[in-house]
Symmetry: C2
Subunit: 312 residues, 2 copies
């Protein structure tokens, strides 16, 4: 049994996870992100112990605790180097946690944890190289190479949302212009949706947005499915943005499998099938075995499960 902790800007979630990636007990509390790092870590330990108790287990039944955190992590030294939505700077997270519970503690970036969660859940011995992409507010990624998380020499690799797809394009949160994240994230999709709505006052997108009370990542998809031409154009452009980025990722990594997660992945085949078609047309090596592209399985639990699996 392992405890996984998903440290977010809003909530801390913890769960007890079995060898085969099932969550058997779960709880959460508000992060209180403006607090000192040591206070937040103390609460993480409280929560980790609480879920262990909820699972009917003794602390000694837990093999390790894994923490998935936003930002740059250094698992080797047990440090959270930097997280832009928390007051953590060079925080010795492992040592701090072990003050409250003396147990092996692993620390990894949350997108990497999500990738490890999806990979562990698949449990397919034929897969050596695996990538999980999250299409959320940003575009996150995690890379498994030779069955292990790859995080570069400094723990910061696999920032897959931050390769440039449009030279001098839309400003990105990272300070560059034209990153994939700016075109393939929900944020990018909403920007494209609003721009098209302004051009097309008769589009059904206006009705869907009104019904939902806002323009969201669903607006264009809902309108497209209802036969709206402008909505379909937004969706087509968005899917092309996602697919072109995936072609680049495949040309670089040629993993056995890529899974797509995040809120937009709920569109399922409506998103997946045109992506597969576009990728198969433009990927570099077409006469050899091809990377399989699928929708991720674990939803919001991927990060917590992957954090738990860090100790496996």
């Amino acid at each position: 049994m392992y405890v996984g902790i998903d440290l977010g800007g809003t909530n801390i979630k913890a769960g007890v996870v079995t060898e085969d990636c099932k969550i058997i007990a779960w709880d959460q509390m508000p992060t209180g992100a403006s607090r000192r790092d040591s206070e937040i870590i103390a609460d993480m330990a409280v929560l980790a112990k609480r879920v262990t108790e909820k699972a009917g287990l003794a602390l000694s039944d837990i093999k390790s605790v894994g923490i998935g955190s936003p930002g740059s992590c250094d698992n080797k030294n047990g440090m959270l180097i930097y997280a832009n939505n928390l007051n953590f700077r060079n925080t010795p997270m492992r040592a701090e946690f072990q003050k409250h519970w003396d147990i092996p503690v692993y620390i990894e970036n949350d997108a990497n944890c999500a990738a490890l969660g999806e990979f562990s859940y698949l449990n397919d011995p034929a897969i050596d190289h695996f990538i999980a992409i999250t299409l959320g507010t940003g575009v996150g990624g995690g890379v498994i190479i030779n069955k292990k998380l790859y995080s570069g020499f400094n723990g910061a690799a696999a920032e897959i949302g931050h390769f440039q797809v449009v030279m001098d394009g839309e400003p990105c949160t990272c300070g560059r212009k034209g990153c994939w994240e700016s075109y393939a994230s929900i944020t990018g999709l909403i920007r494209m949706t609003k721009a098209k709505m302004a051009q097309c006052p008769d589009s059904k997108m206006h009705e869907f947005a009104q019904k939902e009370g806002k323009v969201s990542g669903r607006t264009a998809f809902d309108a497209a499915k209802a036969g709206d031409k402008a909505g379909k154009e937004v969706v087509d452009e968005y899917i092309k943005n996602v697919a072109e980025g995936l072609v680049s990722v495949i040309n670089i990594f040629q993993p056995n499998k890529i899974v797509i997660g995040g809120a937009i992945s709920k569109e399922g085949d409506y998103l997946l099938l045109p992506i597969r078609e576009h990728v198969s047309k433009f990927v570099y090596s077409r006469d050899i075995p091809q990377t399989e592209i699928s929708i991720a399985k674990l939803g919001n639990d991927a990060g917590l499960i992957g954090a738990a699996m860090l100790g496996k």
Copy 2:
């Protein structure tokens, strides 16, 4: 002692290489690329034996033969899957070679071999992750992860020239539009140089091109160094193209080190220093140890030396 073979569209080169990456004997012959694959491989064996003899060695002194080839290679099965400038399609290169010389044979893409050559030559135990980029007619790349060549699940990974940097940009040889290769290769540089020359009839680039008899990858660099404004603009744009691609590569891989090879790398610090400056400004994680960027050391021998090192 190892034999390395560099199979090119024009020439086959072979050399005997020592453990510490020194070529002690060397020879070449024309490839005759229109011939059958089995004839070319028979010649490769002749050449491999000839350089062994030249080195004053017996065949039994050679531990293995490594072949660096263009195209998609499958080292596991000893196959050359496809090479667009040779008549090789699913050629059992290892088995065919061993008909002439029964010795362990390794096969790898030439850009990957170049990366392995540069990595082996550095011989720095502190470097786990390493990337070599070749700015030539195209943009080639090779990736070392955990001290080993990374080639994906199908042997075709690390096509680093083929991630898109300009959506719907210049057509690329791979069938996509806007690949990094189209903006950071010599081919791309020449295109940019010609376009600027057409706009600027007074630019010194015209004199330099006339002196050389053609517009080349040097034209804009030579003019820029001679104080030509238009030449400097081409160089600045080209360097930005290279540097932006490197930022993306670093955000994805965070290797300890990247080396830049190929003809343009002869520009040395004139190329390297502004690249370093641009990268340090725009790379994703700036408060952690940074990837070192340098000029490659081995020039045209990198592929041959790396091929030899496949068996080490």
